[in-house]
C-alpha cells in the first residue's frame, strides 16, 4: 500500500516556539526554523521535507496554539 500523502500549513504568527510539535511527527520532518523570528519573537516551527508528510495530524493534535492545519490526499 502506498503511503498517504499529506500537507501541513503553519499559521506562523500564532506559533510560540514551544517545540511540542517536533516530538510528535512519525516521519520527523517538523523542525524549528532557527533562522527566522515570528511576530511574537519566537523561532517558528516549520516542515522542511513536505513530500514526506503523511497527513497524520499528530503535529496539529499536540500544538497548544492552533498553529497547524493538515490536509491529506483522498483517493
Amino acid at each position: 500500500m502506498a503511503k498517504a500523502k499529506g500537507k501541513v500549513r503553519f499559521n506562523e504568527d500564532r506559533c510560540k516556539g514551544c517545540e511540542l510539535c517536533t516530538t510528535a511527527c512519525p516521519v520527523n520532518i517538523v523542525i524549528m526554523d532557527k533562522k527566522r523570528i515570528n511576530v511574537k519573537g519566537y523561532n517558528p516551527a516549520t516542515v522542511d521535507e513536505m513530500e514526506k508528510c503523511i497527513g497524520c495530524g499528530n503535529c496539529a493534535t499536540i500544538c497548544p496554539d492552533l498553529v497547524i492545519e493538515v490536509e491529506r490526499e483522498t483517493k
Partner: protein
C-alpha cells in the same frame, strides 16, 4: 487534498494568552471540538474560573459567564437549573477546584447537578506565580514549598477523582492526560462522554485532565510532558472511575 485538521468552530479566533507549551491550549481545543461534534456550540454556556484560564470566556465560541474563584460550580448550578436545555460546563484549575472551591464542587456533584466539569490539574497555582496547590506532589518545589512539598506539614496530594468516585451524584468520573498524541485522543473521548452524560440528563460529570505548567514548574515545555508522565501519572492514575450503566 482534504482538510483533516483545522481549528474547531467551538473556539473563537482569538489567540491564547497561555505561556509557550502550556497544555491549557490543548484542553481548550478538545472541549471546543467536542462541542462542535455534538452540535451544541450554539446552546453551550461555559463558566470560567479564576486562574490562568480566567480569560477562557474569550476563547470558547459560546456564551460564557465568569465566576469568583472556586465558585464556578455554584454559578453553573444556577444556569443549568434555569436553562435545563442548554449545555453547561465549568472549566477549572486545581487551585480553583481543589482548594478554594472544594465545597462548591463537592456539593454540586453530591446534588447530581447536571453539568460537566473540566478539571485541569497542573499540580500548582499557575496564575499567581507558582504557589503550592493541594495537588502539588511530595518533593515538588513551589514558591511556598521551596524545599519541596513535605507531607508532615502539608499532607499528601489530594486525589480529587478518587473522591468524586465515592459520591453517588457524580455519574461520570475519569482522569486523563494530554502529554502525548495517544493520550490527547483518549482525553477527547472522555470529554465527549462526559458531555453526552449531561445531554442524557444522567447527573454530574467530571473529567480531570493532567496538564503542564512549564513556567512555574521551571521545566521546558517538551521536558514538562515527560515530567508529567513520570511524576504525575504514578500518583494520579489515569482511567475511568465511574460511568453510567447502559440503558439506565
Amino acid at each position: 487534498m482534504a482538510v483533516v485538521f483545522k481549528k474547531t468552530e467551538g473556539l473563537t479566533d482569538k489567540q491564547f494568552h497561555y505561556c509557550p507549551g502550556c497544555t491549557h491550549g490543548i484542553i481548550h481545543r478538545l472541549v471546543g471540538e467536542v462541542l462542535e461534534e455534538l452540535e451544541v456550540v450554539g446552546k453551550a454556556i461555559g463558566v470560567a474560573p479564576v486562574g490562568c484560564s480566567v480569560l477562557a470566556y474569550d476563547y470558547f465560541n459560546c456564551d460564557m459567564h465568569e465566576a469568583a474563584h472556586g465558585r464556578a460550580p455554584a454559578v453553573a448550578t444556577g444556569i443549568k437549573r434555569i436553562l435545563p436545555d442548554n449545555v453547561v460546563f465549568t472549566y477549572q484549575g486545581d487551585g480553583d477546584l481543589a482548594s478554594i472551591g472544594t465545597a462548591e464542587i463537592i456539593h454540586a456533584a453530591h446534588r447530581a447537578e447536571k453539568f460537566t466539569t473540566i478539571f485541569v490539574n497542573n499540580a500548582i497555582y499557575g496564575m499567581t506565580g507558582g504557589q503550592m496547590a493541594p495537588t502539588t506532589l511530595i518533593g515538588q518545589k513551589s514558591t511556598t514549598s521551596q524545599a519541596g512539598r513535605d507531607a508532615a506539614t502539608t499532607g499528601m496530594p489530594l486525589r480529587m477523582s478518587e473522591m468524586f468516585a465515592t459520591i453517588d451524584g457524580a455519574v461520570f468520573v475519569e482522569r486523563v492526560s494530554v502529554h502525548d498524541v495517544a493520550h490527547i485522543r483518549k482525553a477527547k473521548k472522555a470529554i465527549k462522554k462526559a458531555f453526552e452524560v449531561q445531554l442524557e440528563g444522567k447527573g454530574f460529570g467530571i473529567v480531570e485532565v493532567l496538564s503542564t505548567c512549564p513556567t512555574n514548574w521551571g521545566i521546558a515545555p517538551v521536558e514538562s510532558l515527560t515530567w508529567l508522565k513520570e511524576n504525575m501519572i504514578p500518583y494520579y492514575p489515569l482511567g475511568n472511575f465511574r460511568t453510567p450503566e447502559e440503558g439506565k
